[in-house]
Amino acid sequence: MSGPKWQAADDLFREFQALGRASLASDIQDSHSGNMAVRRTGADGRDEIVITATGSQKGDLEPSQICFLSATETDYGYYKASSETDIHARILALPGVRASMHAHLKDLVLATLDDAPKPEKPPDFVPVDPLARRILGPAIPVDWFAVPSGSPELTRTIPERLAGHPLTVIFGHGAMAKGRSLREAFYRLSVGNYAGAVVRNLQRIRVDVEAIRRAMAADPAGTLAAPPPDYEIEGDDRSDFREEEEILREFVKAGHRIFESRLSPFHTGSMSVRGVASMLYAPKASMPRDVGGPLLSVPLAAGPGDDAEISLHKAIYAASDFQSVMHCHVAEAEASAYFAYPGETTPADRIIPIDAEGSFLYLVIPVLPPRVTAAALIRALHDYKVAVVRGGGVWAVGAQSLSEVLHHPSSVREVCHYRIGAVERGLDLRRMEPAKAKRW
């Protein structure tokens, strides 16, 4: 086999391994599906493509399953490389693109299935959550292919789609994403699947998704919370508080848990622990093992460069005694925030647990409108410790630690899971909800 010999310490190999594992952990791959590719400048100064071998297990990549191809040659047929190599090569040739990734986004694929006769082009997918609308745009292309894998049609169409979009859907198969880095491509795929999960969950609880789409089209600012910050591809290794060993460990643990428990898509959400004048802040809270993200020490005082996300952390600390804050995008909660009881037209202002654990922890979980003021959110957090913002994710606070606050989005996901399942089965939530919660 030609190409450089991979060493265990090689950063790029570790990145392939870690993201491969992460994609399996987030259930956007099958055992052998998907592929990843990166364009880089080789030792000889020429661009080359590094790509996973066809049929390799992305959860356990080995050095021999990484292939090196010339980016300038027309023959991409190296026998071990991915069957999608031609597509990747064309995507990687797009301006500014350094990485591409293909995955089987089950939730998004399911949300885009239709039974219309083909080859009619399926409609674009319109996300209704704040992440996908910001990161992937208001419409994600969906294309049907007679041969939906490695075909010339794909090789021609997918790069065209990705020239204008960060992510595109291959009908009934999966999605391709581009990025300035492999992490950004994975981030986009994760957000895409999340968008599918939100829509799927809305459908399960019989919410009129088209009505939400119409409302969002008519008034995007009024129906979604402040957008997430732009994705940064630099600085993931930065750690400003290495001397705080225990807190560092807490952040890393919490990051793993958010990602692995699907409390927020890869590198979304945020979490912080405050000190006296500064806070320790993770702007990419959902961090898989071996990937990580930046761990920053930032002043508590508001700064001119603060984005909406960090500003809200600071506002919560300024107006309360809380020590920790977490923001996650839980698909089940995002959907549940739109739930209206049968016979009612407006979504409920609370989520009432019907399961034992949820009832034990929460009488009710408040649902707040998308453009809720910081003051109103803080008030809800004082009273409930956790709140779901419709079109804005789950916010939670703790008095003592990150471990404490992590509990809330995790429990909210479970609470919503049972409620969604109950509605899907045709059960009457009103009869299942504790009377004391309905009174409150």
């Binding site: 705080e244 000190g275 009273d383 003592q400 471990s403 509990h407």
Partner: protein
């Protein structure tokens, strides 16, 4: 029912001037009630308005205040506790102590929200309280009697159908032992800081209450929603559901040892043999001495230990305890692992009215001093004061309470004992209050709690970081974070202020924090006590306690651990741990900042204004 504008209160403060022999009722200012809530908060405000914090603690210028809360008298779980504040004769700063049992609920049912006692009587007296009346009575016949004798005599004189509840001191209080307790229901105590000596200085032997007054709940539905959730959570959380009832607080012994925090030989180390720890564990207590568990007023948790033990004369004795703190501070801290001896010493301390925590800390200090030749054999009357001396532990209880022999020196507490012989560094105290049974080197958060507690080294007033660190699961607190400790401990302290101000038990904190209480107190009062508003009250009370201490002469230099904890490491999870002076200073500085105090630890005028803390009205 009361016609006071805020439901849950009677609007009456009972004021007793022992110097003048006068009893009067004063109105409770509604604004004060809303700003300080009750219990610790209200009592602190009333004390600050009554005495000069620089007063002599054992003289007539000191006062004590006991306050109830709007939740006491409702069905809120554990809401029957009372809180007493005074200037401590042990520490010279605010003395603040809490007790369970039934006296607090009985006092509220007598129709008052607070009791303020000033002055001093010329001869022993007691105060008798019933709905609509209170009087001072001679108590010469009770003087010299033990806590249990006094309790039995006064309770026996109850009116039919209206049992009397008795709050009293024992001989230790009469003899002005600086860590004497005030006891209620025989074995429940206002334990820390020497309230018993304050009473002794006033020649006040007992306060008896009887009452059946009811309070109204303004918004029953709101109250009930908080109550439902609180009861549900108490029944679910492992500590409140089972551990406390099965093992009592002594169930902590083995757990605290597991995290290298169980002190040994006057905090020289935290090293014990496992078999020794087992001899003083909650499990062993449950298997050997426990007769039954018991509960305070309206408590579903039930941590009380009703025990029996063979006396030194072979006769069976019955009593209560030992609790965790007593077990460890009278036990391993003194190198003693003899549960029967600890239990007997606990019984004697309860009878005579001594704080078992300060007593254990003082004896451990004396044992180390004896080992260094600072207390000679001739001073102890033949008692061997070596570490591990269980006989000494038992014998010295009576000598201390009566100030006999070396007991007179022990009665002054560890700090004065050690400082008096030129070695204050041997006293494991903060602000002269003996440390609880958790080594601060094993948790910076707990260390900072001891340093900044308003009443000295108290785990309850300073913030009980250990409990959540070990049991909380989801509430884990990093033990060695300099960054997080100041806010973590501030929040722990504030939760404690809330619980003390509501008259509820600290152990509810194992099940839930402020939110159910906010609903219950809002329901009772009909006022909107959001969690944010409760936070403001907590911060107000903390600032007022600090202001009291500043006026009493305390400075930032008093917020420090004994040298041992900075100089001598212990091993925690394979690493040497100490709390260096630099780390103490950093945490202290940050803590002052989050409290809004200046660099010298004084609440700023701006903070006092923002929290509506007016100057003393005295």
């Amino acid at each position: 029912m009361s016609d006071y504008p805020i439901s849950g209160y009677f609007g009456r403060v009972l004021v007793v001037d022992l110097s003048l022999g006068e009893v009067r009722t004063e109105p409770l200012d509604p604004a004060t009630a809303l700003d300080y809530l009750g219990g610790r908060g209200l009592a602190t405000r009333l004390l600050y308005d009554t005495i000069d914090p620089a007063c002599e603690p054992l003289g007539p210028d000191n006062a004590f205040v006991i306050a109830s809360s709007p939740l006491v008298g409702t069905s809120a779980p554990t809401a029957g506790r009372g809180h007493m504040v005074f200037k401590s004769p042990l520490t010279g700063v605010i003395g603040t102590s809490n007790s369970g049992g039934t006296w607090g609920a009985a006092f509220k049912a007598a129709g008052w929200d607070a009791l303020v006692v000033t002055g001093a009587a010329a001869s022993p007296v007691m105060i008798d309280i019933a709905p609509g009346r209170a009087e001072i009575r001679p108590a010469d016949d009770l003087w010299g009697k033990t806590v249990h004798e006094t309790n039995d005599l006064l309770a026996a004189a109850s009116e039919p159908g209206r049992p009397a509840r008795v709050l009293c001191i024992g001989p230790a209080g009469e003899n002005l032992v600086r860590f004497a307790v005030v006891a209620n229901d025989a074995n429940r105590v206002y334990g820390r800081c020497g309230a018993g000596a304050v009473w002794g200085g006033k020649k006040l032997k007992a306060v008896r209450v009887r009452g059946r007054e009811k309070i109204a709940v303004a918004d029953k539905e709101r109250f009930q929603s908080g109550l439902d959730q609180a009861l549900y959570l108490i029944k679910q959380a492992p500590v409140t559901k089972r551990l406390m009832r099965d093992l009592g607080t002594a169930g902590l012994v083995e757990l605290i040892n597991l995290i290298s925090m169980l002190p040994h030989r006057n905090f020289q180390d935290c090293t014990h043999r496992d078999e020794d720890v087992d001899r003083v564990s909650g499990e062993t207590l449950a298997k050997t001495l426990l007769e039954k568990a018991g509960s305070c007023y309206l408590c579903p948790i039930g941590c009380q230990r009703h025990t029996r033990v063979a006396g030194r004369d072979g006769k069976e004795e019955r009593g209560e305890g030992p609790e965790y703190e007593t077990m460890v501070l009278m036990g391993p801290l003194c190198g003693i692992y003899d549960m029967a001896a600890i239990t007997r010493a606990n019984y004697r301390a309860n009878e005579l009215g001594l704080d078992t925590m300060s007593y254990g800390g003082t004896v451990a200090c004396a044992m180390e001093m004896a080992g260094l030749g600072l207390i000679g054999p001739g001073e102890t009357g033949g008692i061997d004061l070596s570490f591990g001396g269980a006989e000494a532990l038992e014998a010295l209880v009576g000598m201390t309470a009566r100030r006999e022999g070396i007991g007179a020196a022990l009665a002054e507490g560890a700090y004065r004992l050690a400082a008096g012989r030129g070695r204050p560094d041997l006293a494991m105290t903060v602000k002269k209050l003996e440390l609880p049974a958790y080594d601060p080197r094993a948790s910076y958060t707990q260390a900072l709690g001891y340093m900044t507690s308003p009443s000295g080294a108290c785990h309850l007033r300073g913030g009980y970081a250990v409990s959540l660190a070990f049991f909380g699961g989801a509430k884990e607190i990093p033990r060695f974070s300099l960054l997080q400790s100041p806010i973590a401990i501030r929040n722990m302290q504030n939760l404690g202020i809330l619980q003390d101000s509501l008259g509820v038990c600290r152990f509810t904190g194992y099940a839930f924090s402020a939110d159910p209480w906010a609903r219950m107190v809002s329901g009772v009062t009909g006022r909107d006590f959001s969690v944010a508003r409760l936070e403001e009250i907590e911060n107000r009370v903390a600032a007022l306690e600090r202001q009291f201490n500043v006026e009493a002469g305390a400075t930032a230099a008093d917020d420090a651990l004994p040298d041992r904890f900075a100089d001598s490491p212990i091993v925690v999870e394979g690493r040497e741990r100490r709390v260096s002076r630099d780390d103490q200073e950093r945490m202290k500085r940050d803590y002052y900042e989050v409290r809004g105090w200046d660099r010298d630890g004084r609440p700023t005028p701006g903070l006092l204004r923002a929290l509506r803390i007016e100057e003393s009205r005295r």
